[in-house]
Symmetry: C2
Subunit: 332 residues, 2 copies
């Protein structure tokens, strides 16, 4: 292949151990390049897996799509590198960002997850309101027992974190006629929630929740935010959902309340250790539904990511500010 | 208790073997009478259980609320009886209605189930789209495996029967951005569905369904409507929901397709034999979720029924036509 002049080098790096929907294969690029024919002509592209070609690619790469970029001597190894795009929204695995040269821009994939997150939260709220964890348990035990529940309208949903995922959760709750209270870093009002409080004031709203949905990124400010004390003050019969990150929540305290039957149930999509090991107690915790980190991801994930990257590449070429630049202090 | 002149006698009859939420107890009446103080003064009320007081009550009853009214010699036993209200919406257990004197009006409780049915269908559609039957099975087997699914928008939902429950199902599907095709007796258009066909033309739409929701009452026209041949022509990967009545659907054929993994799953709320016996094969059928006949019922059921009855009683007093009069030929 002849290398064109006036082209940029984009390196796509992927890990074979990630779920297939998050892997970037040459066919994904070929399909995306067809959708963005003119822009793609300005690019020379390499695709690597498990870092086998990484060092060679870094020598000339201008841009890289990589959720686990190399942290050691990056500037020296990649003298032309200007911009790294992650395939994920969460960049907690890249914190602290002391490894990232100041003149390399990092963008994440926030915004890709909102629509699916909304549907997953809609489902989780309805399942908890209908006491599906109990109904599923009854089916396993071949027990027929009417578990009658009212419609969910009028219930209060506290959404912790109100970015892409949190706004999806908020839309879901509003669709069901619920009252939405958002907990955010700033506490700044938004019309997407009936009320917003800052995370410093979380204690004023958690005990009012019929349902809590954790959607926040993992940062210094959110780690341990929903601690044992706060779990213990959840209303009897409340439901709990986590589609954000597990270290935000004290799962040991949550399990204790679930096992005592004090909550109507929990839907957890994220865990400290993923895949969840076979001997984990979460698999069999009473009224706990274990989801394998699927709530926010669409199988068309990489196609959407590459479309988003092209949108940003067009902005890059015209000198506009990129979308989704990660704040290296805040970590999202 | 002194019997007032110009009062009517209302007899409430209930069965102790029905789920508690469908039983009428004196306290339910007392609460309802407080909500409808003026109207309740026109009534003398008796409350019976398991027919122990029934014959005595029939001698003077003008009205009766009873889902299993006596069929033998009713006119002779209840000379003043003008109106029977059932607690249920389905009156298939009262067919054929040769036992019912022509001058006794029968009203059912249709309309009480739509809101809850809508939420249950919303949940069922989302669970099937997200392949929750498979995810639940994985949890039972302690298997962590990403099951990634797209949002449901754009899928086609065929709703069989489009009364109170069916319109709830239709609203749910529209909320999710789905295309709604209703199958009704007449095939008459309604703005609540994108398309309506008559049940005679069901074969033209069932194979297009990504999801089928059966909501119809059991009548001579719906019994066996979704037969083996029609089940076999459902699209591979389709999802199936039944919140209507089980004899409408060939469950044996449905089970075969589920066990072969040809459908994404089924949510069945109704069965030929309820409670489902412990040795039933449905408990463990692959990708089948068994719900214990709860999808359309609100625990405030009797309170709502009595409010509805008072509304109709007011119409009775002013000589207007009652709401929810059952067509004795059609059976709903």
């Amino acid at each position: 292949m002849s290398i064109k002049t006036n082209t940029y080098h984009l390196h796509l790096e992927t890990g074979s151990k990630r779920p297939v929907i998050f892997q970037i294969h040459p066919a994904d690029w070929t399909a995306a390049a067809k959708r963005h024919r003119t822009l793609s002509k300005k690019l020379r592209v390499t695709v690597g897996q498990d870092n086998t070609l990484l060092d060679e690619a870094l020598k000339t790469a201008d841009f890289m799509i990589n959720s686990a970029p190399p942290k050691d001597g990056l500037r020296e190894r990649a003298p032309n590198l200007k911009w790294i795009q992650t395939t994920s929204a969460g960049v907690d695995g890249l914190m602290p960002m002391t490894w990232l040269p100041k003149d390399i821009t990092l963008t994440n994939n926030t915004g890709a997850h909102g629509e699916k997150a909304e549907e997953s939260c809609l489902m989780a709220l309805l399942m908890l309101q209908a006491k599906m964890p109990q109904v599923i348990q009854q089916q396993q035990n071949r027990v027929w027992k009417g578990v009658f529940t009212t419609p969910i309208t009028g219930k209060t949903v506290v959404v912790v974190g109100f970015g892409d995922l949190g706004q999806g959760a908020g839309r879901a709750a509003k669709k069901l006629g619920c009252n939405v209270i958002a907990v955010t870093r700033s506490g700044k009002a938004t019309k997407l929630a009936d009320k917003v409080v800052s995370s410093a004031r979380i204690d004023s709203v958690l005990p009012k929740a019929d349902f809590v949905i954790v959607t926040a990124p993992l940062t210094a400010g959110t780690r341990g935010l929903v601690n044992r004390d706060r779990i213990n003050r959840l209303k009897p019969g409340a439901g709990f959902v986590n589609i954000g990150r597990s270290p935000i929540v004290d799962y040991v305290a949550l399990r204790e309340r679930l096992e005592k039957g004090e909550l109507c149930g929990a839907v957890l999509d994220v865990f400290d250790q993923e895949p969840l090991p076979p001997d984990s107690p979460y698999w069999t915790t009473q009224n706990l539904m274990v989801l394998p980190h699927i709530s926010c991801d669409d199988p068309r994930y990489i196609a959407h990511l590459l479309d988003f990257w092209f949108l940003n590449f067009e902005r890059f070429l015209s000198g506009r500010k990129l979308i989704n630049i990660v704040d290296r202090q805040l970590g999202y």
